[in-house]
């Protein structure tokens, strides 16, 4: 090569620390996104939860033959935190329709036969394990017991989606605009409804 060329082409470039820094910083962000998008599709199946005694019928109320043990902490369910995983929440949205939850609670959680899920009133607790318990055990004023009718993973995914209806989840995890006719704001754009502290379940009698 010509020396002049060499000069032009191989002129020493000034050091670019900013670029390296940017790369170094963006790497953890990218990795964090991995968790949001991770789809652990090949996990081994869980044990079936105890089913209500009468075959084929969803008995409303606390009929689950074995109580569902839930802890207060946000559990790591089968390797992933459901509330940080967009796939889990979107599966929960799928179950919400498939299992007719939207029939009683309306497509966007506004309520109908069942109470609204998108507001700040929680009758039986707003924490994720408490919502799972409500789904699996049923509740006295007509919420059916789904223990044994849905898998454990489905119940956690459902509960995470239910919480997203009142804006409890991060906007990058909660669902986007539905293809349905229109059930209000997309979950990811809902403002967080701070759960009211003193909401109590309606008295049975």
């Amino acid at each position: 090569m010509c020396s002049r060329c060499r000069e032009r082409c191989h002129r020493p470039r000034p050091p670019r620390p900013a670029l390296g820094l940017a790369l170094a910083l963006s790497l953890p962000l990218a990795l964090a996104g991995c968790e949001r998008e991770a789809r652990r599709l090949e996990l081994p199946p869980s044990a079936p939860l105890a089913a209500p005694s009468k075959a084929g019928v969803l008995y409303p109320g606390p009929y689950a033959s074995a109580p569902v043990r839930v802890t207060a902490a946000d559990p790591v369910v089968r390797g992933q935190r459901v509330e940080e995983n967009a796939y889990a929440v979107s599966q929960g949205k799928r179950w919400f329709r498939w299992f007719n939850c939207s029939g009683c609670h309306a497509g966007g959680g506004g309520g109908d036969m069942g109470p609204p899920l998108s507001d700040d009133r929680w009758l039986y607790g707003h924490e994720l394990p408490q919502v799972v318990a409500s789904i699996l055990q049923g509740r006295p004023n007509g919420m059916p017991a789904f223990a044994g009718r849905v898998s454990e993973e489905q119940a956690w995914q459902l509960a995470a989606y239910v919480r997203s209806l009142s804006g409890q989840l991060r906007s990058d995890v909660a669902g986007g605009r539905s293809d349905a006719m229109g059930s209000g704001e997309p979950e990811q754009r809902r403002e967080r409804e701070v759960p009211r502290p003193d909401a109590a379940p309606p008295t049975v009698r």
Partner: protein
Amino acid sequence: MPSSFRATIAALTLCRASRFERRAGVETARGRPAHGIALLLTVAAVLSATVHGATGETRVPQASQAASAPADPADGGWPMATRDYANTRYSPLADITPANVATLKPAFSFRTGVKHGHEAAPLVAEGLMFVVTPFPNRLHALDLARPGAPPRWTFDPQPQPLARGVACCDGVNRGAAYDAGRVFITTLDTQVVAVEAQSGRELWRRRLGDISRGETITMAPLVVKGKVLVGNSGGEMGVRGWIAALDAASGRELWRAYSTGPDRDVLIGPSFRPYYAADRGTDLGEKTWPGEAWKTGGGNVWGFLAYDPQLDLLYHGTANPGPWNPEQRPGDNKWTSGVFARRPDTGEAVWFYQWSPHDLYDYDGVNENVLLDLPFDGRRRPVLVHPDRNGYVYVLDRASGQVLSADPFVRITTSTGVDLASGRLKYDPRTEPRAGQTVRNICPHSPGGKDWQPSAWSPRTGLLYIPHQNMCQDTRVYETSYIAGTPFVGAEVKMYTGPGGQRGRLTAWDPVSRRPAWSVEEPFPVWSGALATAGDVVFYGTMDGWFKAVDAKTGRALWRYKTASGIVGQPVSYRGPDGRQYVAVLAGVGGWAGAGVTHQLDARDPTAAKGFAAAMKDLPKPESLEGQLYVFALP
């Protein structure tokens, strides 16, 4: 008017007159007030009235099945929600007239202590007023003879709270039924209970359905020839509809007729003579459905029942087919969204007409059938007049089931008319729901041109007073799974105001000339029943709490009163023990239209309460969510 009452009135008038004179300081010619004599007369009159009343209205259960007393309560009572078997809701009392109704004042009231929609009609019989509340369906008997009408007894059937979770449209109850000294109520958890009218003692109870499958009962029963007729609810939960007859004395089930399935279940036999060809055939309740879809096919019987003693025919409607998504159930879906005429003794069907074959919009066929004799083509014919959910006022020959006329009383985009030759509703394909697509401008909306709220007839004006709504909707249907105990709907609905901008209307319909005589517009759907009186006053209530009286001939507003909660109940009128005419209505907003308020739903979701919550976002929150009975009288 019975002599005893005349005597009472005379005595009371004297009594009142003497009191007035005393207050005014005026004395009689003899120098002392005449109230002593008035008092004597009053006591005598009251005593005679009581004795007369005791024998005139049977206080012991009747052994015979003579259908005399409930058929035409000329004594000014209100023994069944519809007042009479013909469903006229016409009170022969004429004290309240357009001239004096403006002076109507509350006479007494009663708080039920229960929240949610109070859709019941207060019944009046044997000097008691019977009020059924929504869940927990308490039955109160108010002693009308005592001042302030305090409750004499309360019966608490203690239904299961689990039933609340499967009631589609609020845990309402549309009233009790009185017959021969007994009062019959239905409960949300599918029980029928008979109690003794005077004491409230439970006589028998029967459970007729299974709430774990989503079955409930909300309707007001009818007692015909010693049989208590009840039907179930739950079409939105995939519950198969039926009507059953229980023996009034023992509660034993005598017969049950389903609304779908083989002929032996529907009680279709050799007596069945439907007018139109489409309704003739064997086992149409199976053949007009795919596979076994009829088992979850709806057709519930939750509306008001009517009975014609001359023809010995019981008339009842059947509700919508399940699910709402029509693509899952191709075929005519018999015997849903139609009207049956049956023999009350055996339940066997005599004829059937389907208002909305293969219903596409949740147009239940359970609205009231008002039995009238009207001139048609030059001669008087026994007809039934029926304002349907699909937006037409039908006039049917009630002996044969032939459609004589069907005319729209609201704006309709879902159909273009009824073909009188074949009897078939002609759907407009442009508004047909399709899976995955949003179909807009569906008028009337799913609650129909008129929902359950019953109309009233006045033989004096010849008008049917129809309380109803004027609303449209967008619908999107989708595949839905049947999972027992969960909703089986498959449709999302967004409702909004219809043309003209007002959501409610009271229309006075002339069934002979087949058009409205007048109509009054209301900002909210008129979800209460209507009451017509011989004084030419029509009463109705609004969802924002106004109890209104209008002129029966012109619709001119005459009087209104603001109650503590929206009114979705059925107004009644009766003659009290003191001989005065009273008008009573339950206030307590709820029902499907009021679910947004009473269940505190989130109206940001336009599909909440199947579309009603957002459409009624502006309904003002009532002073009190609890129900209250209001009884009015002239001062």
